[in-house]
Amino acid sequence: MSAVEVRIGRKTFSQNSRQSHTAISGVSFALDEGEFVCLLGPSGSGKTTTLNIVAGLDTDFEGEVRFSDPQARDGLAYVFQTPRLLPWRTLFENVSLPLKGNPDADSIARSWLRRVGLQEFEHIFPGQASLGMQRRAALARAFATNPTMLLMDEPFVSLDERSAAEVRELLAEIWRTERVLTLFVTHDIDEASQLATRVLVYSKAPAKIVADIPLSAKGNAAGDALRNAALLRGKIENLVSLS
């Protein structure tokens, strides 16, 4: 049995009492332990909505999300499109807050801040940190909770290319050791090629899955990522425009 089974029959957003917009229509997929699955699709195709449904933030949809271990739902972590760090708490406090009640919270938070390269900045507030540092702190917060599943919604968007590449490489490096089931939203083929073990391609709204592409390697080497990118481009070129 898969770790998570997602079935979204229909998801609509009411624009007013008369009009509604169907974001997703008939999306089903299953996720296995140890997978890094990228949801790849054009903007507005319902990728973030899918993450919110899996996270339990959006419960107003037709369908169901089933976890093989019901307690796994309580072990999710979510890295949002914006870092969503509490601006009135230091980076250290932001990482340790979700660990409240854990006697080792402080040492876990410190060790994750060190792992993402923020050990010298743990006592600054998010407003004093660069966007790249905030993204790293958000990563640390997510991994510090030792999640059963990690949801990531275009977490490197709005970073400059170099910073995005650095944080992406950091994520790939952490993921290679943690191997936590990850569902990652992006519309960037190169990003998916570098990180994913499998790619689900969404059509434009109302979203359907138009391709389910396993990737042979996990971007361990530059050559793998290039091969993956070529494979992805070849397969999805005629299916969907990602712009």
Binding site: D74, Y78, F80, R84, P98, K100
Partner: protein, 278 residues
């Protein structure tokens, strides 16, 4: 509505300036010294203008600063000043705490629940526009000339303002942080303390500071109308004796106490709440 939001933002944005001193000797500290100097100069100029006008007028209706200071010292020495100020301050404190607590609960509830907001909005508008004097008279008529009536009257006058301010603050809270708290399984208490309270802090500060300013003025009216002690009662007595020096002595002494509370408690609390703002 917009006005209250604006006020909150203004407060929030203006106060951190004084807490922005990253290193000793930086420009912020120089500015702080400059501001203090300007404040002293401004007060000195006011006293000088007052003294000159009083000297020219030579009237019982406008005693000079020294005459007022003499009266204040005499009232303080007799113990009367401290007694009446103490009584008034106790009433201010009781009314302030009740108004802040009740107003916050009502405002937050209305901010979070649209139906409650729609239902009670007209009530709020009614109470916001009810003249303070009417509430005071009605409370004295209904509950008698006693402490409970006085405190209730003052609190009732302030509760709608606190509720409106906190409602605006609650409605302005970010849903994104709520989602983060939900995903990371914050308890309800942790969500309130770590996510909601800091976002509401500037609105609490606005409500508290404007509340203090309004509450003490209404307390004086309540004392003047129906009580037998307190600064308001004393002012009424001195008014009947046409003793302007004593009126000014009490008024200025009480204002000094309120400014002290503002500077020692409310100001530092607000700066501490805003220390994270870069």
């Amino acid at each position: 509505m917009v006005l209250f939001s604006k006020l909150a933002v203004d407060e929030a944005e203006s106060l951190p300036l004084s807490s922005q001193a990253p290193t000793p000797g930086s420009r912020s500290i120089v500015n702080r010294h400059g501001r203090t100097g300007l404040l002293i100069l401004s007060i000195a100029a006011f006293i000088l203008v007052w003294a000159v006008v009083a000297f020219i007028a030579q009237s019982r209706a406008l005693p000079g600063p020294l005459a007022v200071l003499d009266r204040a010292i005499a009232e303080a020495a007799s113990g009367q000043l401290f007694y009446h100020m103490g009584v008034t301050l106790a009433r201010v404190a009781a009314s302030f705490v009740i108004a802040m607590a009740a107003g916050s609960v009502i405002g937050i509830a209305m901010g979070r629940h649209k139906t409650l907001d729609l239902f009670f909005d007209s009530w709020l508008i009614l109470f916001l526009n009810l003249p303070a004097l009417i509430t005071i008279i009605l409370c004295f008529v209904w509950f008698g000339l006693n402490e409970a009536a006085a405190v209730t009257a003052v609190a009732l006058n302030k509760i709608p303002n606190v509720a409106v301010t906190l409602r605006e603050g609650t409605q302005a809270m970010s849903r994104e942080y709520d989602e983060m708290a939900q995903v990371y399984r914050f308890s309800r208490w942790t969500t309130f303390r770590e996510v909601h309270l800091p976002q509401l802090a500037p609105y609490f500060a606005v409500a508290a500071r404007s509340g203090l300013a309004i509450v003490w003025k209404i307390v004086l009216v309540v004392e003047l109308l129906g009580l037998s002690n307190g600064v308001g009662f004393q002012l009424n007595t001195f008014f009947q004796l046409f003793d302007v020096a004593s009126i000014l002595a009490y008024a200025l002494s009480f204002i000094a106490v309120i400014l002290f509370v503002e500077a020692v408690f409310l100001g530092p609390w607000q700066r501490a709440a805003n220390r994270w703002r870069a």
